[in-house]
């Protein structure tokens, strides 16, 4: 498989950690809560803006408004990226990952399901959209309607309920980080029995999210001389390389804010230095282009991507092979273990 998120399963087990004192579980979870509260606030705000703008421009739809919508969509997509690939937290509890974004989409389910909805003679509300295929519920469907379709009454009929649903789901995620999930996590982090698991899960999230990000890079790269540009995320808006950079930047932030202090408390300064350097190398070498699709189409672009791959492999080795062993965190199953 290699598809995204499932239910909240233990991606890791914590026998080794459980035997050690974990005085910093509360601190770690507090840092996580602060980071996620900021990020979920940003997501809620950008998606609300997108929904409001959609309602506004759809009152008198005209092609000139497309640019504004594209900007608002990009802001929302960028705010969503730090949540991609999470195995813990409100995204999982609410089961909204695929509703926010259905990807990968090898067979263009987004295109086909949007088309069939456009042809269906039914009233469309956010509630009805929420009952339809995940392929029409989220940011991928919005991207298609905003970038590919002309802005008219027909596209507005879908744009309005879908953007409202995205805003509703984003508001739910934010609410959870502000209230219920935040409180439950705080309690668990103080419980001596649960604390090691909280710590382990929070640290392991770095690896899980990296798996998802790597997929965004490696799937379109394809095999040998055959790249697969349509398997890239956000190929319609030609912003896939931009989103990928945002992903690694968000991962760097997660590492610096949450995982690094924990590693240092475990006497892992050399590993911290290696990971920090790997992030710097990767982001410093990042090409200025925004579209993976365009780069995959010519030899020069491909060469740049292969160069990038070396840095991504190095970072992955440190986070996914070295770090779990140094911390004695058990690498378990995750939803990308299939084919």
């Amino acid at each position: 498989m290699k598809r995204i998120v499932l239910l909240p399963l233990l991606g890791v087990s914590f026998t080794a950690l459980a035997s050690e004192a974990a005085p910093d579980a509360s601190q770690i979870s507090q840092r996580l809560i602060t980071l996620k509260q900021q990020q979920s606030q940003q997501l809620a705000q950008t998606s609300r803006t997108l929904a409001q703008l959609t309602q506004q421009v759809c009152q008198a739809p005209k092609p000139a408004s497309s640019k504004k919508l594209q900007h608002a969509w990009l802001q929302t997509m960028t705010a969503w990226v730090p949540f991609q690939g999470e195995k813990q937290g409100p995204i999982q509890q609410l089961d909204v990952a695929w509703s926010m974004q259905f990807w990968p989409d090898k067979k263009n389910l987004t295109g086909r399901k949007v088309q069939s909805l456009q042809q269906a003679d039914i009233a469309l509300t956010p509630e009805i959209i929420a009952q339809r295929s995940v392929a029409v519920r989220g940011l991928g469907a919005l991207e298609l309607l905003i970038y590919e379709a002309p802005l008219d009454a027909s596209s507005c009929r879908l744009l309005q309920p879908i953007s409202s649903l995205v805003a509703e789901n984003a508001a739910k995620i934010q609410h959870q980080w502000q209230h219920d999930y935040q409180q439950a996590l705080t309690v668990r982090a103080k419980d001596p029995q649960a604390a090691p698991m909280v710590t382990g899960q929070t640290v392991a999230e770095l690896s899980h999210q990296l798996s998802f990000i790597n997929k965004k890079f490696f799937m379109p790269l394809g095999k040998g001389k055959y790249p697969k540009p349509y398997q890239a995320e956000s190929w319609r808006s030609e912003t896939s390389l931009l989103q990928l950079k945002t992903s690694f930047s968000a991962l760097q932030l997660y590492f610096n804010t949450i995982v690094k202090p924990f590693l240092l408390s475990k006497d892992q300064a050399p590993l911290v230095a290696d990971i920090e350097q790997a992030f710097v190398n990767l982001l410093q070498n990042w090409p200025p282009q925004t579209s993976l699709k365009a780069m995959l189409g010519d030899d020069k672009g491909l060469a740049q991507l292969y160069r990038l791959r070396i840095d991504i492999d190095q970072l992955s080795y440190l986070i996914q092979d070295v770090m779990p062993v140094q911390l004695k965190i058990v690498v378990g199953f995750n939803a990308t273990d299939g084919d």
Binding site: M1, K2, R3, L6, L7, L9, L10, S13, T15, A16, W98, F102, K106, K107, N108, L109, G111, R112, K113, Q131, R132, S133, V134, A135, G222, K223, G224, K225, Y226, P227, K228, P229, Y230, Q231, Q320, D321, V322, P324, V325, K328, V330, V331, G332, F333, N334, A335, T336, D337, G338, D339
Partner: protein, 414 residues
């Protein structure tokens, strides 16, 4: 009297883990016996399928087509139980694509209904239609397809770098027997007519000669491939089995557990159920031409069941059994073993409900329809049971001291 005592002793041997120490190497050895038996059964049933295909080609009729379909369904029973061996055994994983790759862009092989045909975006081979084409152009490459043969079809797999270009294996045969399922989430499977194989007058959809050659070639290749994998697991030979059983037993246990967990979560619960369900996409169901997905899922789960309990019921009804993971885990932590056994049995029972549903008239592609809340819930319950099973497999791995479950990166563990 003497007989009774022996019977009692035997019974206690199977119930008391304390009385008989279970050795890890015996668990791995029994696993290898099961793998061999499963592939032997897959080969036996594929031979029956090949004979039925010969009969269909020789005398195309509704009856010979129905007999070939029946043989295909029977061949799926052991093969689906073998999928638990894929993850972890790289020799199997590298080999299986030629036999069971999925999902496929069937327009590579034969005619399709252009209105409803859905294929991978950007796949240059998605409409190549090998059966109707003496030569195939993909990008700058031109392939001579004038003579259809097993070697040519094997070469056409992953044409143009796309995994959706599946020219061979069970699903190619399935498509050639059933045809496209044009019913969406409504009742009914593919409805290819036997006349697609009539030679000369009466041939429908053209190229019946090449279609028959194609079907026979891919069936021949399937037999060759299955024989090869059976050989790799035969005892007492210089083969993969010998390599595996010579390694530290812990490596074998890791492969067994990784196979179970990966099939359970990422593949079966995720790729094969959740994607189809949440996207309401019948194209993402596993046996989409024949509507045999319920059995396909059930026998996948049965394969996980076999590895955990160390038992396999062969197609002739005989049993292969021996030292099991269940007993090994129980010898170290009885409660963990019981929990895992309960979760594996529960998942098997739950996935069985999909079979019962299909037998009562609602196949998997109907269960995932957007307006079928009950059907959706039934599939979701299977997903939940599989997720729970995976969690218990992880815990059982801990009991055995196997911390890194991925054999590909296990070298880094110290």
């Amino acid at each position: 009297m003497k007989k009774t005592i022996i019977a009692m002793l035997t019974a206690s041997a199977f119930t008391s883990s304390a009385a008989w120490a279970v050795e890890s190497k015996d668990v791995v050895s029994n696993y290898a016996d099961i793998v061999h038996a499963v592939y032997e059964d897959a080969e036996t049933t594929a031979k029956a399928l090949d004979s039925a295909i010969d009969a269909l080609i020789k005398t195309p009729s509704a009856e010979t087509l129905a007999a070939a379909k029946k043989a295909w369904l029977a061949a799926r029973v052991p093969y689906q139980q073998s999928e638990v061996f894929r993850f972890g055994n790289s020799i199997v994983d590298d080999w299986e694509g030629q036999l069971n790759a999925w999902p496929l862009d069937e327009g590579l092989i034969d005619y399709v209904d252009s209105k409803s045909y859905q294929h991978e975006l950007g796949n240059p081979g998605a409409t190549a239609n090998i059966i109707s084409s003496a030569s195939i152009q993909v990008g700058n490459d031109k392939i001579d397809a004038s003579k259809i043969a097993p070697e040519l079809l094997a070469e056409l797999n992953e044409l143009g770098g796309s995994e959706a270009n599946v020219a061979t294996g069970y699903h190619a045969i399935e498509f050639l027997l059933w045809g496209q399922d044009l019913n969406g989430t409504n009742a009914g499977a593919g409805a290819r007519a036997y006349t697609d194989y009539l030679q000369g007058k009466g041939c429908t959809n053209d190229n019946c000669d090449r279609r028959a050659e194609y079907l026979k070639s891919t069936s021949t290749l399937l037999l060759t491939d299955l024989a090869e994998m059976k050989q790799e697991w035969s005892a007492g030979q210089d083969n993969y089995r010998a390599e595996l059983t010579a390694k530290p037993a812990k490596d074998g246990l890791r492969i067994m557990l990784f196979g179970m967990g990966s099939l359970s979560l990422g593949e079966l619960a995720g790729e094969r159920m959740k994607v189809a369900l949440e996207a309401n996409s019948p194209e993402d169901e596993h046996d989409c031409f024949s509507d045999n997905t319920h059995n396909s899922h059930f026998y996948n789960q049965q394969g996980i069941n076999n590895v955990w309990f160390g038992q396999y019921t062969r197609v002739d009804g005989s049993k292969v059994s021996g030292a099991s993971l269940e007993e090994l885990v129980a010898s170290k932590d009885k409660a963990a073993a019981e929990k895992a056994s309960k979760a594996v049995s529960a998942a098997t029972e739950q996935v069985k409900t999909l079979v019962v549903s299909a037998e009562n008239g609602q196949a998997f592609d109907q269960l995932i329809a957007p307006d079928n809340a009950k059907g959706n819930a039934l599939v979701n319950e299977s997903i939940v049971a599989l997720v729970k099973q995976t969690g218990e497999i992880e815990k059982a791995s801990n009991v055995l001291g196997i911390y890194n479950l991925n054999p590909d990166t296990a070298d880094h563990e110290f």
